[in-house]
């Protein structure tokens, strides 16, 4: 139902009307409704295949329309049957999976082992010429082969033992689209706007830069989607998104910063949800820059930052600070007693003196609030660095395109980044970003042989070895820092109180059954 019809029906009641259609009891147990959930977002993914682009905007919708073989329960962290009903390790490098029968693709074709083989094979992923390889290599590069043994049995072989393989197959980037549809489209870019999968929602409309609409897929094998459709609509201006939420045009809006909470909370029909996700907002030090080659300078920069002050003042205390470059979600791999870099301006000054720092300029590139409060935080950081004697100059860049440009041999000073834990394990975050194939290592910002060696232990199947390796890597990351952690990146959403939904600890907005309810509350 579109807003135009609401006007004709009388505007004041329209917000409730749109949510009320066909809805019975409130709460998550609510039956399927005819509601079209409208979501105001800042931008859309330019490619809807997870292997098309590794980006939060793509992760946001991924498992609503595409499914993984193993399902990751975002509430408990457990692995559960998805498109596969069971799986077993035949050897340290071979995993066999039994696929669910009776699964249909959005185009009506049956889904079977051949889809898995083709979608992880050379046509889409396997091999350097495959269109999805370069994007997915970081997560799935360990896959050596995929073979359909029977219509409902598939075998994965990895190039080495991988303690996380099941977790990899359960997470973003491992969603399996349907092979027939993929072949029918025949063009990678066009496929990005016409992806076909098996999820509870199917892609109904994609207007790049404007909206993406997903409709309930009636042929879904599992619990049906709770709403008839959801639409991600681009509303670039924050003020317009908030106004749209308050006016009832949107039931959920994304990218809200703490200084906007009050406006939303003052309205009894709207509220704010969200918080820290599994992502560490960090700074990157390009060690090729003459002033950043000395680790003492980099450590001094990290020691000069009062992280708590940033969290309290910019985020009103609504997020947290990680214990070094790790997350509690790592569970048994979390090193509780690790001592991270903290705020110690005296030690910073001492290190600067030892390194012979004499007021040389260090550039800091930042964007206009790509990250919440980015400009303010950049200014705060500059002041903190100035307080210990650093001469850091702020250089505003127009876009990531400028930050990523290879001018001056690609050498930067300090830049901003955020590091998702694509699976709750150091391999999904620390190793993924700073390991041998990590973005910042490949880009030559930083390298450390000891860190690389320690990373081998992380790939072991023995838990104690992995934990020890993790501890060692965290220590190296601290002593020879390629950057520093600032705070756990929060994601805040505004939503109508009548929509019973809470975000996951990832960018994924889960609108599947049991995760979303719409009521007359």
């Amino acid at each position: 139902m579109r807003i135009g019809r609401h006007i004709k029906q009388g505007r004041r009641g329209l917000c409730l009307a749109v949510l009320a259609c066909g809805i019975g009891a409130p709460g998550l147990a609510a039956a399927q409704s005819d509601t079209n959930l409208m979501i105001g977002v800042t931008n859309l993914t330019p490619h809807l295949d997870p292997m098309g682009i590794m980006a939060n905007v793509n992760w946001r919708v991924s498992q609503n329309h595409l499914e993984t073989l193993i399902r990751y329960d975002y509430r408990t962290g457990e692995l559960k049957p998805g498109l596969a009903t069971s799986w077993k390790r035949v050897s340290p490098t071979v995993l066999e999976m039994s696929l669910r029968e009776g699964v249909a693709c959005h185009n009506g074709e049956p889904f079977n082992a051949e889809d898995v083989e083709i979608m992880f094979g050379p046509e889409r992923f396997q091999g350097e010429d495959a269109p999805g390889y370069l994007e997915a290599r970081g997560q799935l590069g360990i896959i050596k082969s995929v073979e359909a043994l029977t219509p409902h049995t598939v075998r994965f072989e990895t190039s080495g033992p991988d303690p996380l393989f099941e977790l990899r197959l359960a997470n973003y980037m491992s969603e399996v689209p349907c092979a027939d549809a993929y072949r029918a489209v025949g063009d990678w870019d066009k496929w990005g706007q016409a992806v076909v999968g098996t999820g509870p929602y199917k892609l109904a409309e994609a207007r790049p830069g404007e909206l993406q609409r997903f409709e309930r897929f009636d042929g879904y094998w599992g619990a049906k989607a709770p709403v008839a459709s959801f639409t991600l609509k681009v509303v670039p201006e924050t003020g317009a998104r908030i106004a749209g939420l308050l006016a009832g045009e949107y039931q959920i809006i994304t990218e809200i910063s703490p200084d906007q909470f009050e406006t939303i909370l003052n309205n009894p029909k709207t509220e704010v949800v969200g918080g820290a996700i599994q992502n560490i907002r960090s700074l990157i030090y390009d060690t090729r820059h003459p002033m950043l080659s000395d680790p003492r300078i980099r450590r001094a920069l990290s020691l000069a930052i009062d992280r708590k002050l940033i969290v309290d003042s910019i985020f009103h205390g609504k997020t947290s600070i990680s214990n070094g470059f790790q997350m509690k979600a790592f569970g048994a791999m979390y090193i509780e007693d690790f001592e991270p870099t903290t705020y110690d301006p005296d030690r910073a000054r001492q290190l600067m003196k030892e390194a012979g720092y004499n007021g040389e300029e260090i550039p800091y590139w930042y964007l206009t609030d790509y990250y919440t409060g980015e400009v303010t935080i950049a200014q705060v950081l500059q002041q903190m660095w100035k307080d210990v004697g650093f001469n850091v100059t702020l250089q505003l860049k127009e876009s990531w395109a400028q930050v990523g440009a290879e001018k001056d041999n690609g050498i930067r000073g300090i830049t901003n980044t955020s590091n998702n834990a694509v699976y709750p394990d150091p391999i999904g975050q620390l190793y993924r970003n700073y390991g041998p194939d990590g973005h910042f290592v490949v880009k030559k910002y930083w390298s450390n042989a000891a860190f690389k060696d320690a990373g081998e232990g992380l790939l072991s199947l023995d838990h104690a070895t992995r934990r020890e390796a993790h501890r060692k890597m965290l220590e190296i990351w601290k002593q020879d820092p390629p950057g520093t952690h600032l705070y756990n990146l929060p994601m805040f959403y505004g939503k109508a109180a009548s929509v019973d939904w809470s975000p996951t600890s990832t960018p994924f907005m889960d609108f599947r059954a049991k995760s979303l309810g719409v009521s007359l509350n």
Binding site: G40, P46, M54, R137, A240, G244, A247, W400, H439
Partner: protein, 309 residues
């Protein structure tokens, strides 16, 4: 007349070519689309593969030569998003912008010109002062401020109108009001001043002396003569309304060419940006030629002056 049109056409072609060239080089030297399109966490191989696929690894002069060759054959290139022809991507959004601009232009002229004329005819009256006051306010407030104020008032506080989108006629009201406020003020001021000039001309006294009543004298002699400077303003207005559409479309999430332009610049969707810039350039050039022709029609003396000069 033929040589006039030919001369104008040649200049117009050169202008569009320069515009296309300028846009081409500025876009390519101010950021790397590959970084944005393959994602921030993609490795250098992914970035390189993207560049190869889209010919961005070629020397700049070669890319430019290919671009010009394609442009001359009517090929505006492909959008990075979805690999669709850029012209098709822009054409899809064009009707929404044309509707927005068209309705805005009608409202602007319908309010601005009568307001200016009435203000001139009732000089120093309360109507005149009100018209001038409204004009100053309209000119002083930028579009994005007016837009947000209107959203807060009519969308949030009163809940009378939709705040974003373009689905129904109701959706037109706030963006059109946003754009028309300032533009109507411009026309009102120019119409008033042009009318005041004309009303003091000897031929207006002659018209009165002939026995024409005030209304007929104004309609038959004053308004047509005052229209000449307004035609100039209209030429400038086309440029202003395009800029206004870019801002307004973003504030109201109006899915037109303006919001597409902002998005495409952000993502460095080169072919789409270039297509839009050329489109805007052609629009401006055609508008200017039309204005010149309209001048010759409205005031034949301008053509004679050129011939004699």
């Amino acid at each position: 007349m033929l040589s006039f049109v030919l001369r104008k056409g040649l200049r117009a072609g050169l202008t569009v070519l320069l515009l296309a060239t300028f846009t081409f080089f500025v876009l390519r030297t101010s950021g790397d689309p590959a970084v944005l399109l393959v994602g921030l966490e993609a490795g250098p191989e992914a970035v390189e593969a993207f560049r190869r696929r889209w010919g961005l690894d070629q020397p700049l002069w070669k890319q430019y030569a290919i671009y010009l060759q394609q442009l001359l054959s009517g090929d505006f290139g492909q959008s990075f998003v979805g690999n669709r022809p850029a012209l098709e991507v822009v054409a899809e959004r064009l009707p929404k912008t044309l509707w927005l601009m068209g309705v805005t232009a009608v409202v602007t002229l319908a309010i601005g010109i009568p307001l200016g004329v009435v203000a001139a005819l009732r000089r120093d009256s309360w109507i005149d002062r009100l018209a001038i006051g409204v004009s100053v306010a309209g000119l002083s407030l930028p579009n994005f401020v007016v837009g947000v104020l209107l959203i807060l008032l009519f969308g949030v506080a009163l809940m009378l109108l939709p705040t974003t989108g373009s689905e129904t006629a109701w959706h037109f009201i706030l963006p059109v009001a946003t754009m028309a406020t300032g533009d109507a003020a411009v026309f009102a001021r120019f119409a008033r001043s042009a009318m005041l000039d004309v009303l003091n001309q000897p031929f207006m006294r002659t018209a009165s002396a002939k026995g024409l009543d005030r209304r007929r004298a104004v309609m038959r002699h004053a308004v047509p003569n005052a229209a000449i400077p307004l035609v100039t303003v209209f030429g400038l207005y086309v440029g202003r309304i395009i800029v206004g559409a870019v801002i307004t479309e973003n504030v109201f999430a109006w899915p037109g060419v303006g919001s597409l332009l902002v998005l495409s610049v952000e993502t460095r969707d080169l072919a789409v940006v270039q297509t839009i810039v050329i489109l805007v350039g052609v629009t401006m050039v055609v508008t200017n030629i039309t204005i010149d022709i309209a001048y010759r029609w409205l005031d034949p003396r301008t053509a004679e002056e050129r011939t004699l000069g």
